[in-house]
């Protein structure tokens, strides 16, 4: 399973729409779309740069989400901080459903809202949306086991403590370990930019990979088309080519 991430509106409206279409044509099974947060507290420097650029022009993100929906036919999962929506959650989820979004992932759910995570998961599901749960190595084993059954589509497991900083981690031992706890599809993300890491993750039992930071870096260097070629390459690895 290839889950590709794009920051909504990055690098600009036209290129963003070219990117999401291209990522799907290249074989992405699911698109994860990041909404500009007030404080990207659990994102790394690369994703933060993309938010910063988007913050200079994007005001009406709903219309761009609608355009995204019209542009592609794979499931769309919105990545957004729960912190930004706590007071208006019900309206926001209803609106997401209305524009055709399929699922929601809150990166801060099990960190800042861990005492009430079930309530929020139920709220997402009650709007007919999928709740995709984000976990990481700092989530205790019993909790990973518990939420893996609640998570829709797949369980997201980020192997690095923050996006886009290539901190040294033992990808294979992390995945081997978490695989035994998860009764669900397991998608591994956060800095799996390197092909070797990706192969190790798959070999250790991951069902898929989530790619984000590396696309943004590629766009910064060589533009959208080049990022799309990367997606094609990742698809090839997943298909064993």
């Amino acid at each position: 399973m290839l889950v590709s991430y794009a920051t909504l509106g990055y690098p600009n409206r036209e290129d963003y729409l070219r990117l999401v279409k291209g990522l799907v044509e290249a074989g992405s099974d699911i698109l994860e779309i990041g909404l500009l947060p007030k404080y990207a507290k659990y994102d790394g420097p690369v994703i933060r740069r993309s938010y910063k650029q988007v913050s200079t022009w994007l005001t009406d993100f709903w219309s761009l989400l609608e355009e995204t929906r019209r542009a592609v036919d794979v499931p769309l999962v919105i990545l957004t901080y729960l912190e930004d929506w706590v007071s208006s959650l019900s309206q926001v989820l209803a609106k997401m459903k209305e524009v055709g979004i399929d699922g929601v992932l809150f990166p801060d759910l099990l960190i800042d809202f861990v005492d009430e995570y079930e309530k929020y998961v139920n709220e997402i599901k009650s709007h007919g949306l999928s709740a995709v749960i984000f976990t990481s190595p700092s989530v205790p084993d019993p909790l990973i086991h518990k939420v893996s059954r609640l998570s829709d589509m797949f369980l997201y497991y980020g192997v690095r403590p923050t996006t886009g900083v290539p901190l040294p981690v033992s990808v294979d031992s992390l995945i081997t370990r978490v695989r035994t706890l998860v009764n669900n599809k397991l998608v591994v993300g956060f800095g799996l930019s390197d092909i070797e890491d990706m192969k190790k993750a798959l070999k250790a039992g991951a069902d898929g990979v989530a790619i984000g930071t590396v696309y943004i870096e590629e766009i910064e260097r060589n533009g959208v088309e080049s990022a799309i070629s990367l997606a094609r390459k990742f698809r090839g690895i997943l298909d064993g080519a």
């Binding site: 507290k41 659990y42 420097p45 900083v165 290539p166």
Partner: protein
Amino acid sequence: MANSEEIIPSYWYNIIPDLPKPLPPPRDPPDAEFSRIDLLRKIMPSEVLRQQFTVERFVSIPREVREAYINIGRPTPLVRAKRLEEFLNTPAKIYFKYEGATPTGSHKINTALPQAYFSMKEGVDHLVTETGAGQWGTAVALSARMYGLNSTIFMVKVSYEQKPQRRTIMQLYGAQVFASPTSHTEYGKKVLNENPNHPGSLGIAMSEAIEYALSNGYKYLVGSVLDVVVLHQSVIGLEAMKQLQELDEEPDVLVGCVGGGSNFGGFAFPFIGSKKGSKYIAVGSYEIPKFSKGAYNYDFPDSAGLLPLVKMITLGRDYVPPPIYSGGLRYHGAAPSLSMLIKEGIVDWREYNEKEIFEAAQIFLQTQGIVPAPESSHAIRAVIEEAREAKIKNEKKVIVFNLSGHGLLDLPNYESMMKRIG
């Protein structure tokens, strides 16, 4: 009886997978002009960094590090404080793990050694760190030497001048010791420009050490607070667990003092993780009231603000600790894992003032003979109170504490306390 080398564990224990809740991850501040998480990658040895973020419950101790532990006299003794029990006339049994028995006189060497070893394996030839009172700098200086590496220690200028013995030990070990602020870094130059007689601070020394490591391609070693340091310190608790087993004792109460939390965590976490003991007491200083007055917030672990934000109990990084005798407790926060365990009610806390700990130190040294570090005397005070409570309730409980260091280099502090408190 197991032979003494078998007491030393083959694995360090990591409490992260056994915490009641996810440990909030380190993060960069909003609108950060640079990524502090990325900075870690540049300054820390990569194996140390990998261990900082590991999820494995047990991390293998390399054979060479285990040999180095043996070489510095590990396992440290677990001693029954029989005379103290008699003095207190308590039915409780009291044991202490004596980390003062290491060559550098405190537990700090337990993490300096593996960090130096991993640096050497990665081809680094020069280590840099900062030190306040000198315990950490001493541990790094010796560890570097043991692996044939050079070391540079930025020692807070006021300590450099007032604690010449510590400086001398580091120099004997072969370290280059600078009185910070120095003119060896841009940051130090800036500080000296503003005030040529600046007394220095731990924050300034740390900024200088990090800058010096970065600009010369050296590695920087971290002495407390971070998870990897607590991981390495778990050698204390793992040894103590085996030593208690040998004696057929089941501990009830585990006690340790808290500066940044690595000696307490290293000692108590293996017990907490294996559900041995029913009460865990972290002891801080009344003069630095982080437990009673601190907030549980994201804050910088260092006063310079160069490391990533972590969620911890903190008085705020701008908090200036009063100039108390226990240099090792003059810190604004507590390790994230320990902070969470306190917030969740799994670990209790106490805070004692200078008078209370001075009395405790006197009782201990007059009954057991060891001059405890003023920091460790905080733990002793809590132990005495637990033992007295056991007497009132006539409970035969087993109290175990970590005597994190000796106080033989703190005699001027004790002298000052004698004059003031008597």
